[in-house]
Symmetry: C2
Amino acid sequence: MTAQRRVVAEVLDGEHVHLTADEVHARAVSKLPEISRATVYNTLGELVSLGEVLEVATDKRAKRYDPNAHRPHHHLVCAQCGTIRDVHPTGNPLADLPSSERFGFTVSDVEVTYRGVCPNCATV
Amino acid sequence: MTAQRRVVAEVLDGEHVHLTADEVHARAVSKLPEISRATVYNTLGELVSLGEVLEVATDKRAKRYDPNAHRPHHHLVCAQCGTIRDVHPTGNPLADLPSSERFGFTVSDVEVTYRGVCPNCATV
DNA sequence: ATCCTACATTGGACGAAGTCCAGGTCAACA
DNA sequence: TGTTGACCTGGACTTCGTCCAATGTAGGAT
């Protein structure tokens, strides 16, 4: 555990946190000015392989990193401003996929993304 | 309707078709050698705004384009080779999101991505 | 049939996001 | 102290996508 990794882990902390790699880097720099982009990418990659952090690809641009990996959840995204909230729907989408629709796949995971307009953008 | 647009539309035809923009371009070139990347991107963008084609962001790399836009469906992705199948789960995930979990959003759409290993990769 | 005009297309430059690599630094341990 | 190995750095590079000025063309007007 080095200073760089600690800083990245600190930046990624809390609920409803979904930063891009560049945002993580920007915040890390403000705590540890000489940290490099490559290190941030490496550390994020390691956190993802360790299962500590999730990669989220809700928008088509940059990947986002979600530290709330241990509590299963899905995402609600504002189509206008891109805000992301963690949500916990009822029901189990895995059970909704009959084996006739599995094409022989071993299905291990589901990711649900709700899209809509957030209250803030709705009033504009 | 120009020759270029017709070619792009022809390339994007069928079920379980999920090409990247570059793949669309490559196939379009084989039918119309002088077609440019910019035109393919423009045409894809127009098809998406017209609602004829869906953008899919299942993998973190390039966007993919799904011509099967009129029949609502979700996706099953192989974590190893990236193969994508269209699937039609039972149930309605929109109904599974209680209003207490909507944070004031006006939710209009859901996208479900199942992940697993396809039969082909499983035998390797 | 010809001309005009608006729109489509082209190709290349540009930008954003991410990866890779060679070299430097640091901590631990013998 | 010297060696070792892991880590970090900065910059070059790749990939995917967008933008733009110049050119071509489809299809209505004459």
